[in-house]
Amino acid sequence: MGRTRVLAAVLCAAVLATTAAARAAPLAVTEIAPGVFVHQGAIAEPAPDNGGDTANLGFIVGGSGVAVIDTGGTPEVGRRLREAIAARTDKPVTVVIDTHMHPDHIFGNAAFAGVPVAGHANLQDAVAARQEVYQRRLADELGADAAAGITPLRVDQPVADALRIELGGRTLVLTAYPTAHTNNDLTVFDPQTGTLFAGDLLFLDHLPAVDGSAVGWLGVIDTLARVPAVRVVPGHGPAVGPAVADWPGALEPERRYLTALVEGVRRVLKAGGSIQEAVTQVAQDERARWLLFDAYNPRNVTATFAALEWE
């Protein structure tokens, strides 16, 4: 019975993969500044109704080539991004920039095979340790076909501090940060238009997810606030409209939540409380202000509790 089911799934996957490759409808993108395009993902966890398209993606067109900033949660989302790029420019994609390790940002890399990848110096190891788990989770969420074609990540241009990328008359500045959202967060700044792609160092509306260090993240927010940007693209949340022009004000809701998280966990620790108590007590005032609060706050509290115990 188990074998029949597996066989059926494999056949299904093969059929779906074939039809999907032929389909690849371009993702909807918006030009938020000259040559700067964004696609806003669903504010949701990956599920069949969003096809794993849950992160904000972008691309910047220079005189000689295109930089892609995050590629989406499945190879199919990556192919749809590739189609969107082809519809806007005939310049070749010369670099894929992965802002961090999470699968909703990097699994679309499969659609850009052969293009050099730039990322944080910790990125390759971090993905290597997690990819197996991420792929299985994706198969559980969207079916085995969604995870087909994902290959191990190789970072060709590791960024330990900062790196400039030339696109022909346009220079992008990549900056690596200490542990915050993850231990491999990277931002992309386009000085020509003052556009900052913050990756998941900035969440709007979608509750921030802590997979690194909440305390470290609060420190990174102070650093980020000094970037002379005029607009910012968050990793999750509104990527077009008035929200993106509020800089550095856009950092404030996330700073408020992370402060409540850290201070709340410290209070429970000081009182000798347990993780379970912390999960029910910490940052509850924030619930109404965010989407996906119940999906992420308990995990954030658990991770922050385990980290702050060592303070």
């Binding site: 197996e132 231990n183 347990s274």
Partner: protein, 277 residues
Amino acid sequence: MAGHPLAGLIGLLMLVTTPVLGATTAAGGTADGGTAEDAARWDLLHDLYFKDRPVEDAGDRMRIDAPARAYDAALVPVRVEVEPSLHLKSLSLIIDNNPVPLAATVRFGPASAGNSIETRVRVNEYTNVRAVGETADGRLMMTRVFVKAAGGCSAPAVKDPQEALARLGRIKVNLPDTVMAGSPATAQLLISHPNSSGLQFDQVSRTYIPAHYIRSIAIRYGGQPVLDIDTDISISEDPNIRFSFVPGTGGSLEVVAQDTKGATFTRTVPVKTGPAL
């Protein structure tokens, strides 16, 4: 013993079987943990760990407190409450569907107070979590809960490897602000250690990260045993134990932990006691 040479094989078996089990669970519903499959698993484990000794239902004398659905499968807090009248010699924590189900066995020494214990475990798939206590007269008493979580043994929970390495072997003991001589006090022990399960896969090297975990913890108060604990890979990274002991006047809590590479980690913490009530 957690099968270093076999760890890779176990991991592969686990990877192959997990999605199918997941599908069965979603379709069939094992929320009460009472399926024939669960019962067969327990029969196997009963035989493995307790041979033909009968295991009684502890009723309301023992209770496990754990989240029904875990927030982080690699870090599931589990508290075992034991009624003081039971006077257990030892307590075993078993996670039925984990690759190495026996998470820990705690032996209570003369300086311990009661048998209630709290720790954090990895949960690899939807499973029963059991506590089996052995009374002074050799009876085995059991309680269980069902926990929904998946992937805890293979999940790379270490969020910042550099920081974890810098902290390895550090031991912290938290005591209440006021400790009274002769009155039970609850303490928390933390040991910074990756507790690598041997089931975490490295995609670049295409190998499993070797198992490397804390295998024993001895806690003494003034030289008297409080707890002796055998631990295995089902215990979360940075092993964490909450326990109670009966302090006398002054004295120290001494902790000695050993890992599977033969390293020994020790810490001695003075206990400042107030006057007996």
